[in-house]
């Protein structure tokens, strides 16, 4: 479904040149969920932004369905690939009602049947019709993220790019959104690329993942390997350790309990 070959993203020129992503390659099959893990500055979000055209591709190729994506992206691309952003407080237009936000993609692509499709999209993400005419400030963080997911799903894309979709949310809300994403993927046969700094979240949603650091690939591994603590690189192991919580001495028995 999605092929990333030797992707490079470079900002600036000369002495100010910054290589945000250096030679990253991976393949995501149809219906698969693929994770990109790393700390800030690892270039994981830049990979997503480069795929959808928000960051420039300086080298390498991005193929969707076996075809190289055009620059600038065309409407057909946006019907295939959609994105959900990290901060639901920033990704909804503050002066637009949910209804307006959701009718926008339909209007852009000249789709008919807006009424029923908006109602259906709201149902899909677990929001009732009572949410339709609210403004973002009348919604909680989790509800906003649901609206953002509904917006991304309206055009019936095949690939969903998820940029830290739960990191701005409370733990209990995160669980709800993760369940929703899991369910949507199953029901709609979606392909996911999930970017997150949280190993547990990535392992929960994805089967395979790429660990990145300083714009480079550290290793490609599987969620199963993470769960059994079989990482090839020291860096991944240190990420796993850090995700277990704070420990005064490295091996504290109960630290494995909560996450």
């Amino acid at each position: 479904m999605l092929d990333i070959q030797n992707l490079r993203v470079t900002y600036g020129t000369g002495r100010l040149q910054v290589d945000a992503v250096k030679d990253v390659s991976f393949h995501v099959g149809t219906g698969e969920a693929f994770g990109l893990v790393g700390e800030s500055g690892s270039g994981k979000s830049t990979v997503l932004r480069a795929i959808c055209g928000l960051a420039p591709i300086s080298g390498g190729r991005v193929l969707v369905d076996g075809r190289e994506v055009p620059t600038p992206r065309d409407k057909a691309f946006y019907r295939t690939v959609q994105m959900v952003f990290q901060d639901p407080y920033a990704s909804l237009h503050p002066r637009h009602t949910v209804d307006r936000t959701l009718s926008e993609p339909l209007a852009i692509h000249g789709e008919k049947d807006a009424e029923t499709r908006i109602a259906q999209a709201l149902r899909e993400v677990g929001l009732g019709p009572s949410f339709r005419f609210r403004y973002p400030h009348q919604l909680s963080g989790g509800q906003r993220q649901r609206v953002a997911i509904a917006r991304a799903l309206l055009l019936r894309p095949k690939v969903l790019l998820l940029d830290e979709p739960t990191s701005a949310l409370d733990a209990s809300v995160q669980a709800e959104i993760l369940n929703l994403l899991d369910e949507l993927r199953r029901n709609l046969g979606l392909t996911y690329i999930l970017v997150s700094h949280d190993l547990a979240v990535v392992a929960h949603l994805c089967d395979r993942l790429l660990v990145m650091r300083h714009g480079e690939t550290v290793e490609e591994t599987t969620a199963a390997a993470l769960r059994t603590n079989q990482a090839a690189s020291d860096y991944t192991r240190s990420l796993i350790n850090a995700s277990q919580g704070f420990s005064r001495d490295a091996a504290r028995p109960e630290s494995a309990l909560t996450r």
């Binding site: 019907r79 002066r95 637009h96 009602t97 209804d99 993609p105 005419f133 917006r151």
Partner: protein, 310 residues
């Protein structure tokens, strides 16, 4: 915002307006407007300002009925010249034996006309240039902003004078001159706002839905810039009225015998010591209306400032 909204609301209507679950587009919009109105009315000075502006509107509308005399043809030049305020002539009469009260009332039409035309011409120009320049960036931004700088570099009144000198004196030309010189600050404000909005996630999101650039600018960027521009334009109204009056005073705006307030002050200048009312009455009108717009602008800022609104 109609004045009817200030009347006590039945509980049912208020509940409908403030419903957290509006059932239609209109209910959502009206609810929002109602909340804004409530914020606005918290500020008594702003309501006072709105009152003045509404009064100006009504006076201009009903000038025919309110004015007891004709604004242009005076009374008997031998007996009715420069009469002090009295029951017959509330504001006195001027050197042409015209009733100043009637002239001030008719003058409100000219003032309103100026204010209306300037805002209708200058605001869209500023908004368009500012948002396009801020959103597109690059050479478009450079060209448009240098153009703005050129207009900004001229002193407003001097540039207006030059325009009027070139186009010929008259109220329409004065308005055009003021409009042309007042858009650059609006363009700057709109551009600054756009630069902040341009990189936000909700713009990226709509871009990823395949929206065209004009669609993003007009549907998503402009609505967020409009509110701060409205505030700024309202606050500038006082300045515009003063500029118009200034042009009138210099004889380059409204031409006699039009009852333009600035021109009226200019004629009163000759009698300032002995017949103070000739200059003071239109001056007072300018003062009150300017104050009204300023207070209104302050109140609107509280309501519309995106940083204050959650």
């Amino acid at each position: 915002m109609s004045s009817a909204a200030s009347l006590p609301q039945p509980a049912g209507l208020r509940a409908w307006l403030l419903s957290p679950e509006p059932t239609s587009r209109w209910q959502a919009r009206l609810g929002r407007a109602y909340l804004g109105w409530r914020t606005f009315t918290k500020n008594p000075l702003a309501v006072f300002g709105l009152g003045i502006v509404l009064l100006l509107l009504l006076v201009a509308l009903f000038a025919n009925f309110l004015a007891p005399y004709s604004p242009v043809t005076g009374g008997d030049l031998r007996t009715a010249r420069l009469l002090p305020p009295s029951a017959a002539h509330w504001f006195g009469t001027d050197d042409q034996a015209r009733d100043i009260y009637s002239r001030v009332i008719y003058g409100s039409r000219i003032t309103l006309w100026v204010v209306l035309l300037v805002s209708v011409i200058a605001t869209p120009i500023g908004l368009l240039i500012g948002t396009v320049s801020g959103y597109l960036g690059g050479w478009v931004d450079t060209v448009l902003m240098r153009l703005t700088d050129i207009f900004l570099a001229f002193p407003r009144l001097v540039l207006a004078l030059a325009f009027v000198a070139a186009l010929g004196p008259g109220i329409e030309n004065a308005i055009i001159a003021i409009a042309i010189t007042s858009w650059p600050p609006y363009a700057r404000i709109a551009r600054a706002e756009t630069l902040m909005i341009r990189n936000s996630d909700f713009i990226a999101a709509v871009k990823l839905q395949g929206a065209s650039t004009p669609r993003i600018i007009f549907g998503h960027v402009v609505p967020l810039c409009v509110s701060s521009l409205i505030v700024r334009v309202t606050l500038d109204m006082a300045g515009i009225i003063l500029t118009a009056a200034g042009l009138g005073f210099l004889g380059l705006g409204a031409q006699p015998p039009m009852p333009e307030w600035g021109a009226m002050v200019a004629t009163g200048r000759n009698y300032l010591i002995d017949q103070w009312w000739v200059a003071a009455m239109p001056g007072l009108a300018i003062f009150v209306v300017s104050l009204g717009f300023n207070l209104l602008g302050d109140g609107l800022r509280d309501v519309l400032d995106p940083k204050a609104a959650k």
